[in-house]
């Protein structure tokens, strides 16, 4: 493959930057709507608070969705980080650590797409990206940012597994389905993912 073609495939055009930004902002709106209802969900978990980790995936979907739509190096990281900035600006109760979380979660997904050299965007890769984003989030929360320093070791492990599963399903599967749904509406016509709905649904499709 010649260099010019690689540059065209991997370089960010203005429409890619603006679309990624707007996806992140829309994600911020969804976070905002979600957190309004999140308190209720959390109450449902009041009997066993660590189970709330199963809802973490909602905060991870911009990384996978952004990458599946933009299909450029850095898209997962950029969308997740910007969505975290929006969350901080909207008055997140995590303070600046939300930016660190955004970076870590975005990185988890980004590394998966990078491992496939930004060429594969199928269901399997999406699920893997969601899973890694969740695992990165879980590990950083349980062991590095130490939000749950008072948890027992078993509960910390439970937390990591729960965020991973949540990332797989919510960030991975739902983002992949959303990308196909969006492609059908023609809303992706200016982007590399415009034919996403015509790609096969097999796990390891090209």
């Amino acid at each position: 493959m010649n260099q010019a073609a690689a540059k065209q495939r991997n370089g960010w055009r203005v429409v890619d930057i603006v679309t990624a930004s707007v996806i992140a902002v829309a994600s911020g709106v969804i976070f905002w709507a979600w957190s309004a209802g999140y308190g209720l969900f959390s109450l449902a978990f009041a009997a066993f608070p660590p189970a709330a980790a199963l809802l973490t995936g909602v905060w991870l979907f911009p990384a996978v969705l952004g990458a599946l739509i933009i299909r450029k190096p850095g898209a997962a990281l950029y969308c997740e980080l910007l969505a975290a900035v929006i969350e901080a600006l909207l008055g997140s109760h995590y303070g600046l650590t939300v930016l660190i979380s955004g970076l870590v979660q975005g990185l988890g997904a980004e590394l998966v797409f990078a491992a496939f050299r930004y060429r594969k965007w199928n269901l399997g890769v999406a699920l893997l990206a969601g899973l890694f984003s969740g695992l990165f989030a879980g590990v950083s929360e349980a062991y590095i940012l130490a939000y749950y320093v008072e948890y027992t070791p078993a509960l910390k492990l439970f937390h990591v597994v729960a965020t991973g599963v949540s990332g797989l399903v919510v960030a991975g599967l739902l983002s992949w389905l959303a990308t196909r749904g969006l492609a059908k509406t023609g809303a992706l016509s200016a982007l590399a993912s415009r034919r996403a709905h015509l790609e096969t649904g097999k796990l390891a499709a090209k």
Partner: protein
């Protein structure tokens, strides 16, 4: 691609550019036919041209080509030549201004002066020259009275378009391209916008190319009219006077859907036979939410087979009233009664009905058709409501599946959408979407039909079909209520009218929900470099991550509270911002107290969990730490404008400006998207989706709403990207009119943050409470 030249020419030497097309053609990727084929055209410098043609004639494509926005790759083919002053349009050697129809995406920045400067900055014009051009450009478009830091969010649609025009003028283009500039703005905004465009052309001497389908506003002011042919070249090239004199031409153009001057499509006027009373409003007051502005009180009796139009100035709350009448919002005051003839066994309050019961009684058609699409094909879209509509009492289904099929087929035929039955609704043309959105609501056979600006922005053919459809419904006995500026529609429907005035006693509507560019005030902290503040907050709070103890957290919380006067924050404003943090802190503390590591006295026992002295201490420390991490951010947010932060990031930390400015442009849409999200919820209830269902149905409905939001977000992103590219964004080095500086005072703030962080940790170590969380 070479960079756009800008010589900084003075007013005397500025002039328009000449356009020449020689057998020019363009073929979009993944389209069967070329958008433009063998176009031959010569437009001399400084001419004012009205470009018209039926939809699909390639008008927008031509404008995008002239603006240098089409990029030829393997799949998109250009043929022939398109020259601007002798050089290839694709090389972008001359600044070209482009305005599109959606006002929201023509504005890029959050403050007026920044937005005017945006294009010129991208062309790397000297900042001192840009600062001179800003007031000149604002004067030329009639916005000279606005303060330079006025928030662009607060402008009306027509003002936003004029602001975009000022930004184009500040680029000093030789060519200005306007793609249906008045299609999305209210009638009262059209005249001032048109005059601003003509004045801008006058002062700049630029060649002017306007695409419009409503010709009345423009015909009398232009030098020439060019009619394009779908998939071909020029159909007519004529003097504007012939749009008024030449009957044959007028007939041809109006048949193509254009609004030629003084033309009104004729539909037989509805014969009105008032039937029984259905809906009665008594001193009804409407409001979007509890704390948003309220409308005037309204009295209204809605009878079967009659039409009523709601009129009134902008901001009077016409749409809000329509939503309330539609059973989508709860009345803010007064009475709204559904009479038994309509309620048919249900409560008199339509707001309390389940969505399925509502749609079979009162149908609401929203202004934006896409807000109401809930399925993947036109056929499913039409079948959606009848499959869910509930009959009397609100329990049994109104139709069986065979009836639904027959109903859908007849609707497809009536709407002229048979050939599109399997198409995705979002991929239809504007007129087709409008017809479908009316059809989907009619499919549930409501007795009352409410429409918000049904004819707004539609071509003459869609107008004729819609009016015919509505007259038919009236004569069948449906009651129609329409919010509209369209007098011809009102008279065709023989409608009565109610007029809503804006209430004098309240401030104009403000954007609800979160906004990012709220004014930051003039406090001491507001003048500090954003990076210094960001660094100070980071230095003060991030060390807390290393420990879980209450001493360090209390030091940070205390110091932050002492700093609040510097940010000009009162206790009341602080509590308004901080209460979610307090709640989160308490919830966090509870979680840890319940499941944290146990030690000491046992206070309570729930199954396998126990609350002990140790876990309570852990919980309190966790809650306090969460609070201490978040609280200083309030200082930062309350005193920092995101645009300043972006500028500082880009200029001082060398973060790539394309990403910083792209992010800021996207963030400007936040308030708009929050509003759109709540509108989507209502629009989807009006289709029978949503509330009062099972948990699975509600989750499904919410996911659908999120997807619908993303569709709208992506559409706006596409238009915003075109605007930014047309303003030279991303071409190369740029200049900045806002320069970020770093003074001794900024350094002091940063140092204070570092000292505070160290002091918090030091205090904890001295008190013996410091405990390394990774230990």
């Amino acid at each position: 691609m070479s960079s756009v030249a800008n010589t900084g020419a003075t007013a005397d030497t500025r002039r328009g550019t000449e356009i020449i097309a020689r057998s020019f053609g363009w073929h979009h990727a993944e389209r069967e036919k070329p958008a433009i084929a063998s176009l031959d055209l010569e437009i001399p410098a400084g001419q004012k041209v009205l470009l018209v043609g039926p939809s699909g004639a390639g008008k927008s494509t031509l404008l995008h080509a002239l603006a240098g926005l089409l990029e030829a790759d393997d799949s998109e083919q250009s043929t022939g030549q398109l020259l601007i002053d002798g050089s290839d349009a694709f090389a972008r050697e001359h600044p070209v201004g482009l305005m599109q129809q959606d006002p929201e995406t023509q504005v890029v920045q959050s403050q007026v002066a920044d937005d005017v400067a945006f294009g010129a900055e991208n062309l790397a014009v000297d900042p001192s020259i840009i600062r001179q051009r800003i007031p000149e450009a604002l004067d030329a478009v009639g916005l000279g009275m606005l303060p330079l830091d006025h928030r662009t969010q607060e402008l009306s649609g027509g003002q936003k378009q004029r602001l975009a025009l000022a930004g184009i003028l500040a680029m000093q283009p030789g060519l200005m391209l306007l793609d249906e500039p008045t299609a999305n703005i209210d009638p009262e905004g059209i005249g001032p916008l048109r005059d601003a465009v003509l004045n801008a052309a006058q002062v700049s001497g630029a060649t002017l190319l306007v695409v419009e389908h409503r010709l009345d506003a423009w015909a009398g002011h232009m030098d020439r009219v060019i009619v394009l042919e779908p998939g071909g070249g020029v159909a007519h090239d004529l003097d504007p006077q012939r749009l008024i004199d030449d009957e044959e031409l007028r007939a041809e153009l109006s048949a193509a859907g254009l609004w030629v001057p003084n033309y009104l499509p004729q539909v037989p006027t509805a014969a009105i036979e008032p039937g029984e009373l259905l809906l009665e409003a008594d001193q009804l007051v409407s409001a979007r939410t509890g704390d948003s502005p309220r409308t005037q009180a309204v009295d209204l009796s809605v009878r079967a087979g009659t039409a009523t139009v709601i009129r009134g100035e902008n901001g009077a709350g016409k749409s809000t009233l329509a939503l309330t009448l539609g059973g989508l919002l709860q009345p803010a005051a007064g009475q709204l009664q559904a009479v038994e003839a309509l309620a048919n066994g249900l409560d008199a309050s339509s707001f309390s009905w389940k969505a399925g019961a509502l749609i079979g009684r009162i149908g609401s058609v929203f202004q934006e058709p896409e807000h109401q699409f809930v399925t993947q094909s036109v056929r499913e879209e039409l079948a959606f409501a009848p499959l869910r509509a509930k009959a009397s009492g609100g329990h049994e289904l109104k139709y069986d599946p065979a009836e639904v099929d027959a109903l859908v087929d007849s609707l497809l035929a009536r709407l002229g959408l048979e050939h599109l039955a399997e198409a995705n609704p979002f991929t239809l043309s504007g007129g087709e979407k409008r017809r479908l959105s009316v059809g989907t609501v009619l499919a549930a056979a409501p007795q009352v039909l409410i429409l918000d600006e049904p004819t707004f922005g539609q071509d003459a053919n869609t107008w004729r079909e819609l009016a015919g459809l509505l007259v038919e419904q009236l004569e069948k006995g449906t009651a129609i209520i329409a919010v509209t500026h369209d007098e011809h529609l009102a008279s065709t429907l023989s409608a009565g009218q109610i007029r809503l005035a804006a209430r004098a006693d309240q401030a104009p509507a403000i954007t609800r929900g979160p906004v990012l560019d709220a004014p930051v005030g003039r406090s001491w902290l507001a003048k500090i470099n954003p990076l210094a503040k960001l660094g100070a907050v980071a230095a003060a709070t991030l060390p807390l991550i290393t420990t879980l103890d209450w001493v360090s957290a209390v030091v940070i919380v205390g110091a932050t509270l002492l700093a609040f006067p510097l940010a000009g924050l009162s206790v009341e404003r602080f509590l308004k911002r901080a209460w979610p943090l307090l709640v989160a802190g308490v919830i966090g503390a509870w979680g840890i107290a319940l499941v944290g590591q146990d030690s000491g006295a046992v206070y309570a026992q729930f199954g396998i969990f126990s609350i002990t002295e140790g876990s309570v201490h852990g919980g309190i420390a966790t809650g306090l730490r969460a609070f201490a991490l978040a609280l200083p951010c309030i200082l930062l947010l309350a005193t920092t404008n995101p645009s300043d932060l972006g500028g500082a990031l880009s200029q001082q930390l060398r973060v790539p400006h394309r990403f910083v400015l792209g992010a800021l442009a996207g963030m400007r849409l936040l308030g708009l998207m929050v509003e759109e999200f709540s509108t989507l919820g209502l629009a989807r209830r009006a289709r029978g989706v949503g509330n009062f269902g099972t948990v699975a149905q509600r989750i499904g409905a919410k996911l659908g709403q999120c997807l619908a939001l993303l569709v709208q977000a992506l559409r706006r992103a596409g238009r915003l990207a075109v605007t930014m590219e047309a303003k030279g964004f991303g071409l190369g080095e740029r200049t900045w009119i806002r320069t970020a500086s770093f003074t001794g005072r900024d350094a002091a703030v940063l140092a204070a943050g570092i000292v505070l962080g160290a002091a918090a940790i030091g205090a904890a170590v001295l008190a013996g409470t410091y405990n390394l969380v990774w230990g």
